[in-house]
Symmetry: C2
Subunit: 300 residues, 2 copies
């Protein structure tokens, strides 16, 4: 088992969904990723928050064993995002984004993190992702995420960054946008042509696809009756995926395929409640049970 | 192995897709279903066409071994449909529908067809579907399809019909519309509550879901680079599904799950060319090969 390093955001989210309204709840890519990955391996988180970040949220993240040594507290307010899923449960409508201290995020990596073998660069400015990559040079398994904003406005640095990673995680719209292909198979192959050995395209309630030179593997999403808040599902997915790999410390067709299922399982828990609340109520046993059920039912 | 009976339409389609324009090509639910099912078991087709229906199309259907004893030729013109996939390759925009002789379709079942064990009621007026069901009473495995038009305008007869079938095939929008549920798991369970033992929800490029009381099984759609014309994919899916069951003549969790994969495989061929053209160029060997590839890659 190896440790995982994640660099991303820790935020306060305000969410409206058909299931209700929740104000300034714990969110952020690094939060979702690290809590999900913590079910599999030790996690080191690097992010920044403002002085107003509630101590209870820190305690919550810590309660999953996540190492917060790299969580910098800066003068100012914490990154805030407000979104709504009222029109479409599958797609957030952004109501407001306040970057606050996140606007000047310059990740400070504790020295020992530079040796991390499993690293996830959550959705941040590609220039920052490159900045981190330079520090953790060497033979690493590096995952990255991005978004439409960077694909459009920082395309070149983004592609430079992707070239140096092992796996890219994008949702289907982002994959089509970055590749310029509307066909999913062509889009997946285009992502691989940018450099990474693997590409994962997340399709929300339709599951996810793992592309590699040698195979294309698809995992349907676990069907749920109760989808309360899809925020963070993608980062939770990546957390389960990378967490499982760090636990196994082996990159093979078998571990990669299973990682896609574990990612899918973790994401299925994330959407069942607001914020990371569902994870406060489950144990590794519940996660294993859902994985086993999924695999058993899907077996021919 | 048992014979399958399909009652539906044989039509002349005019299709515009990003891959081109094809005028008055062979189409219709019974056409797609029967050609697909013919790869697995003997098929008897019941439909009606006009005097203008080209002899060459009859020969094409017959070349798959489909029995056309039940294809009635009536005074008048053949059912015509014109559709376009230019705006959305996943969803046909209807440009024109000319029902012609199909408007007065009153299926004439050759007597021996009344003993059919495997029957597919393609998308026609629910009153006609009930009319057929009454003739083929007894212990049968009956599949049915429908569409938004009947869900809206003939809801009661439709539900009466569904109650008497073994399996219903709908696409996701139809499933949500008929059930009144936007959540897929709830929609699937609602379909089962209407009477059939199984329900299949087709999600186009995202695959299909098989619902039963005891399990929910999902098959991702085979990824393709070349999607030329999605017309008939759903009926081709049902043809592969029901054809495989008729071949095995066994209804179990195992055969039902495999049927979903075979349906998916057959549909993947259908969309690779206009009309049923792709099937003119493949053999059972090609079908088996794609099935095996799919199953091998999807195995964990």
């Amino acid at each position: 088992m190896k440790e995982i390093l994640v660099i991303g955001s820790v935020a306060l989210d305000t969410i409206t969904s058909p299931s209700g309204y929740s104000k300034e709840i714990l969110g952020g890519s690094a939060t979702y990723f690290s809590i999900s990955a913590s079910f599999f391996a030790p996690v080191n988180l690097v992010a920044t928050v403002g002085m107003d970040f509630p101590e209870k949220h820190k305690k919550t993240i810590k309660s999953f064993g996540v190492n917060l040594e790299g969580l910098e507290v800066k003068e100012g307010r914490t990154f805030r995002w407000e979104g709504s899923y009222v029109k479409d449960l599958n797609c957030a409508e952004t109501i407001e984004t306040q970057l606050n201290v996140f606007a000047e995020f310059k990740p400070l990596l504790p020295k020992r993190y530079e040796k991390s073998k499993y690293v996830f660069l959550a959705n941040i400015d590609p220039d920052l992702q490159i900045f981190i990559l330079k520090k953790i040079a060497g033979k690493r398994f590096i995952g990255c995420d991005s978004m439409n904003h960077w694909i459009k406005n920082k395309n070149k640095p983004l592609k430079n960054m992707i070239k140096k990673t092992s796996i890219i995680f994008l949702n289907d719209l982002e994959a089509k946008m970055l590749s310029g292909e509307s066909n999913m198979l062509k889009a997946g192959r285009h992502l691989l042509s940018l450099g990474p050995k693997f590409a994962v395209v997340k399709r929300g309630e339709y599951g996810a696809i793992l592309f590699s030179k040698d195979f294309v593997f698809m995992a349907p999403a676990y069907l749920l009756e109760d989808v309360k808040d899809p925020t963070g599902a993608g980062d939770t997915f990546a957390g389960g995926f990378m967490g499982y790999l760090a636990k196994m410390d082996k990159i093979s067709e078998g571990t990669m395929k299973n990682a896609l299922i574990w990612g899918s399982v973790m994401a299925s828990f994330a959407v069942q409640d607001f914020s990371i609340n569902r994870f406060l109520k489950i144990t590794k046993k519940d996660v294993n049970k859902r994985y086993k059920t999924f695999v058993r039912v899907q077996r021919l």
